[in-house]
């Protein structure tokens, strides 16, 4: 058994480097369900006229955008991912839900580069085909393949598993009610609800989240503080807004989702409807270059810019603007516009122009804060200040400039699934010591290499570390066991639309490849030894005999398919109760999965509670005193990070179609700064922290579109695991792939704490 698994793993790992993605698929042949794909053959039939070619509707998961996708499957092989014509994110004029599937074939939807490359996430040659157990110390890259039964038994029972002393298994931890945790990254509503049910039944357990969730949480907190509790995430309504002011947000680079924001912004810009847009960003992003005004603020000085605009508003339009809180007004009035201008590096004139545009657009303005703001120290408070600009000119969610997703029904559905008593708790970041940790859908070590790896590598903090992962990510590399689960293209989920999408509804994800035996409700993925996360948890739960686990196979659903059939029914019921015109019959559930979800026209969107209470429950930002100028070294530059529209942080960014466009990230540096350092386009440079403890070596992109004194690195490169290095599995060495380790990970310099002073030298 183990021999087979090792061979399979090696085969997977060895097949990178072929000229075509699909040449690789030949090597899967023996896996059975994936037939040979005629590499280089003319396009397979898009209109589903050849026997065996089918369209499957599902939901993308490569960014939080949750676009509807249509997957073309030829003889069991996924050959293409396109946009779904049913989905309001993907299609400008979505088809009504009851449109027949054959008719839908003649229509299409958009898809972004990352979403389109998902084929390669599925057929990733470095996917794990069997459960793995480490044989060396954590992170040594030495693994041994196990059967599922062995792996689950060891995880439950514990013992001297690694020859490093006795470890408590999950059973003992549960009995003792010792702390254990499930660490989940940005995951979808359906699986999140499932995990909550599991944790509710497991004594001593808690839910941990990673920085990506904490980032979204900061945004939510800021919106709640400004527009009232329960507002949740907000976004600009690009279809209706008259003026959008984006702070550290790049909707045309990293829009969530790019697919609808790209379309909406292009339409507003090109139609001469008077749409104006200003982007505050030290770097000329695509968004900034398409905007009417680029405001290249000094990184980390956004707060002074906002206060300056507020000051200008107050001075020029005393009767037309209103400070939401006297404390804020007092803070703003402490300094002059000129003073603010000097410290943020933006001329007074620009602030005045922005003030004019804001007042002219009034409630049709939208001022939003993205990761560029949220990632700064004190990011939540700066974001609150930024959002307060909306209130000053009378813009609240729903008034024309700002939108908010209207998924009130989802709260009802959640209550139904979790029980009325379930408490909504603030997400808790990982990092506290636990006896056992399960990880799914998160790669904290990539986002935070220094501190996260100390936490995960330390057996005292986490004596038993089980990663449910598809490949050996930076974090999974430190795990004791890796249980291979399926990708988003081989699982079910229920997905909420992002806040920029006002159409009420939900996305329904279902497997696009593999086979389902509807009699027993069991799903067979393309790699026989991988399983949907839910079924792994079911197996653990039944071993633990969790009494209160509502989805306990003994009483409730036994398979992922059964669970999601039930969960979707509950959601449809909740929608119906919210007076949305949907059916909650068994057929409706099937139809919804078949169409990748259900969405209703925008006109059906409900009034949100926030729009009534907005402004009445305002919490002013707690701003830090005027930031001290730490007399920066003349020679040093400020490093920021950004997101490319055709890359994704772990690990789908490693898709070769994306790496092909830009194989490595290069440090962006202003032409003048480069000249001073004798650096020209393509030169190799080192980026070093002032303490000289860490440095990165990469190429330079010398360009005029970045503020002098600032340098920038794109996220999503510089992997050290996931095929970028060799592993030993059952004592055989696997192949590594050079393209997968190209570029640098800016997080190695601790960029997660906002802009950073660095020194750049020609190498």
């Amino acid at each position: 058994m183990t021999g087979f698994s090792r061979r399979e793993f090696l085969r997977l790992a060895g097949l990178m480097g072929g000229a075509s993605l699909f040449t690789g698929c030949h090597l899967f042949e023996q896996a059975g369900p994936i037939p040979e794909y005629m590499s280089g053959a003319p396009a397979s039939d898009p209109a589903e006229t050849i026997q065996g070619v089918t369209d499957v509707y599902s939901v993308c998961s490569l960014c939080p955008g949750n676009c509807g996708i249509r997957c073309r499957v030829a003889q069991g092989t996924l050959v293409k991912i396109g946009g779904s014509p049913y989905n309001p994110i993907s299609a400008e004029q979505p088809l009504p839900f009851d449109t027949r599937l054959e008719e839908a074939k003649l229509h299409g939807g958009s898809i972004c580069a990352v979403g389109g490359s998902g084929v390669q996430t599925l057929y990733n040659p470095f996917r794990i085909a069997r459960p793995l157990k480490r044989v060396g110390p954590r992170g040594s890259g030495k693994w041994k393949a196990l059967s599922w039964d062995e792996a689950i038994r060891e995880i439950l029972a514990g013992g001297d598993l690694f020859g490093e002393g006795k470890i408590a298994g999950l059973k003992a931890i549960k009995e003792a009610k010792d702390p254990s945790a499930f660490l989940a990254g940005t995951i979808d509503w359906g699986s999140f609800t499932f995990i909550k049910q599991f944790l509710a039944a497991l004594p001593g357990s808690s839910l941990h989240r990673d920085d990506s969730v904490m980032m979204a949480e900061k945004a939510r907190q800021a919106a709640d503080a400004v527009f009232g509790p329960g507002t949740g995430a907000i976004d600009a309504d690009y279809r209706n807004a008259r003026f959008v002011l984006s702070f550290g947000d790049a909707p045309l680079d990293s829009g969530v989702p790019l697919v609808s924001k790209g379309r909406d912004i292009a339409t507003s810009r090109v139609n001469s409807g008077g749409f104006k847009w200003a982007v505050v960003d030290p770097r000329l992003s695509t968004s900034a270059s398409k905007a009417d005004i680029w405001i290249p603020v000094i990184p980390g000085k956004d707060q002074d810019l906002v206060l300056g605009i507020m000051r200008a508003l107050g001075l020029r339009f005393p009767h037309r603007v209103r400070f939401p809180h006297p404390d804020l007004e007092a803070t703003v009035k402490k300094r002059t516009v000129q003073d603010y201008a000097d410290s943020c590096g933006i001329p007074v004139q620009t602030m005045a122009t922005i003030a004019e545009l804001l007042v002219a657009s009034g409630k049709h303005s939208a001022v939003i804060a993205g990761r560029g703001i949220l990632a700064q120290p004190n990011g939540t408070e700066i974001a609150k200040t930024v959002l307060s600009l909306n209130l000053m000119v009378g813009s609240i969610p729903g008034s024309g400039g700002l939108t908010k997703s209207s998924d009130q029904f989802i709260k009802t559905a959640e209550k139904k699934l979790l029980g009325e008593g379930a408490q909504e708790t603030k997400p808790q970041r990982y990092g506290s010591p636990v006896k056992a940790l399960l990880l799914w859908g998160a790669d904290p070590v990539y986002d935070n290499p220094a501190s996260a790896s100390t936490y995960f590598a330390d057996r005292k903090h986490v004596p038993l570390f089980v990663a449910i992962e598809r490949e050996i990510t930076e974090t999974a590399a430190l795990a004791d066991y890796i249980l291979p689960d399926t990708t988003y293209l081989e699982r079910w989920d229920i997905c909420l639309a992002p806040p920029s999408v006002p159409e009420p509804g939900i996305g329904a994800r279902s497997p696009v490849v593999g086979g389902l035996d509807p009699k027993i409700g069991k799903y067979f993925p393309i790699f026989h030894e991988t399983r949907p996360m839910e079924e792994i948890i079911f197996q653990l739960a039944s071993g633990l005999a969790l009494e209160g686990f509502k989805t306990n196979p003994a009483v409730g659903p036994k398979t992922a398919w059964q669970y999601y059939q039930g969960a979707l029914k509950v959601v449809l019921e909740a929608m119906k109760e919210s007076e949305l015109p949907v059916s909650d019959s068994k057929e409706a559930v099937e139809e919804t999965f078949r169409r990748g979800g259900i969405f209703l026209p925008r006109s059906q969107a409900m009034e949100t509670t926030a729009s009534q209470s907005a402004g009445n429950d305002y919490h002013p930002p707690q701003l830090e005193k005027r930031s001290k100028n730490a007399a920066p070294d003349k020679d040093s530059l400020r490093l920021i990070t950004y997101t490319l529209p055709f890359h994704r942080t772990p690990p789908s960014g490693l898709n070769s179609w994306l790496l092909e466009v830009l194989p490595e990230n290069r440090v962006l540096i202003n032409t003048g700064d480069a000249r001073k350092r004798n650096i020209s386009y393509g030169n190799t440079v080192t980026v070093e922290t002032p303490d000289k403890k860490t440095s990165l070596t990469c190429k330079a992109q010398v360009m005029p579109g970045i503020r002098p004194g600032v340098v920038a690195l794109a996220a999503g490169f510089g992997y050290t695991q996931a095929g970028a290095r060799q592993y030993s599995v059952d004592n055989e060495i696997t192949t590594a792939n050079i393209p997968r380790k190209a570029g640098v990970n800016p997080a190695n310099l601790k960029t997660e704490q906002g802009p950073l002073e660095v020194k750049i030298k020609k190498a």
Partner: protein, 296 residues
């Protein structure tokens, strides 16, 4: 103003080294053949001893040339497609070329047979028919480039003429070398006048080639952006300036003209070898400088 490329993609050069070889061998063959006909068709007695060896060389090179072409084809087994009448493309130089390249070796072989059996009358008639064929075979390679408007470096009315004369030049140079080898091993020595006339012919053709080259440079220097870029690129290319022009044309020209080298067989041989290499470099730079100028 500063500029910085954000993204762009590479475009592979579709041809390998076989293609300049193909054009080169085709030319060499045509050049040798024309030399062979000097005695058989144009009745210049002096060249009589060269008629047969020149024709044989020409034939052998003609086997090499298509081999190079087929080596470069990505579907070599489909070579016969070029001879399917329905597939004939009347705007494609290559279509004509394929037929010429088929007809010409056959005519050549028959011609050789009649030289061999010493039937001068038939040889002459055949030669008269084959000479235009040889000229077309050669000129066609020039047309293959001249008719490509995409690349300023190729798209010139001078191309066919330039290809033709340089083919002749390489043909003569090759024969000089062959004649010297023959002379070395054969009992009856060749007429020294033969070498003298070959020398004068080479000087003449090099001068014509230099004239082509000059015209080429001047027009390109004031041509559009691509033309200007090509000529500037060429003038900075060592292989082109040092190889093709200096060692391939100027040095042999000097060797052939300067009295004390001109009379020396060794230098004549050296000059011929340089010319043979120079003409190859000319084919090489025509093909690849064309690709060195990016189009997108």
């Amino acid at each position: 103003m500063d500029a910085s490329v954000l993204y762009n993609v590479p475009h592979e050069v579709p041809w390998k080294i076989y293609i300049p070889f193909y054009f080169y061998f085709t030319g060499l063959s045509a050049g040798s053949f024309i030399l062979s006909t000097l005695s058989t068709v144009f009745r210049i007695k002096r060249f009589k001893p060269m008629a047969l060896p020149a024709a044989i060389i020409s034939f052998l090179l003609l086997l090499l040339a298509p081999m190079c072409l087929i080596l470069d084809l990505h579907q070599p087994l489909r070579f016969w497609h070029t001879l399917v009448p329905e597939y004939f493309n009347n705007t494609s130089a290559l279509s004509y070329g394929s037929w010429l390249l088929t007809a010409y070796p056959i005519a050549n072989l028959i011609y050789i047979y009649f030289i061999f059996v010493k039937n001068d009358r038939v040889t002459r008639a055949l030669g008269m028919f084959t000479v235009p064929l040889a000229i077309f075979v050669h000129a066609y390679t020039g047309f293959a480039f001249a008719l490509v408007r995409a690349r300023a470096w190729w798209h010139s009315a001078l191309m066919p003429g330039y290809f033709l004369t340089s083919a002749l030049l390489s043909g003569i140079a090759l024969l000089v070398v062959v004649a010297m080898v023959m002379d070395h091993y054969r009992k009856e020595k060749l007429d020294p006048e033969l070498f003298e006339s070959l020398r004068v012919m080479m000087i003449g053709i090099i001068l014509i080639d230099l004239f082509w080259m000059g015209s080429f440079w001047l027009t390109l220097l004031v041509s559009n952006a691509d033309g200007y870029a090509s000529i500037m690129f060429a003038l900075h290319d060592r292989l082109y300036v040092g190889g093709e022009l200096f060692f391939g044309m100027l040095v042999p020209l000097a060797l052939l003209i300067i009295p004390w080298t001109a009379r020396d067989r060794v230098f004549l041989c050296l000059a011929s070898i340089l010319i043979i290499c120079g003409v190859f470099l000319m084919r090489y730079s025509v093909v690849f400088i064309g690709y060195d100028i990016p189009l997108s």
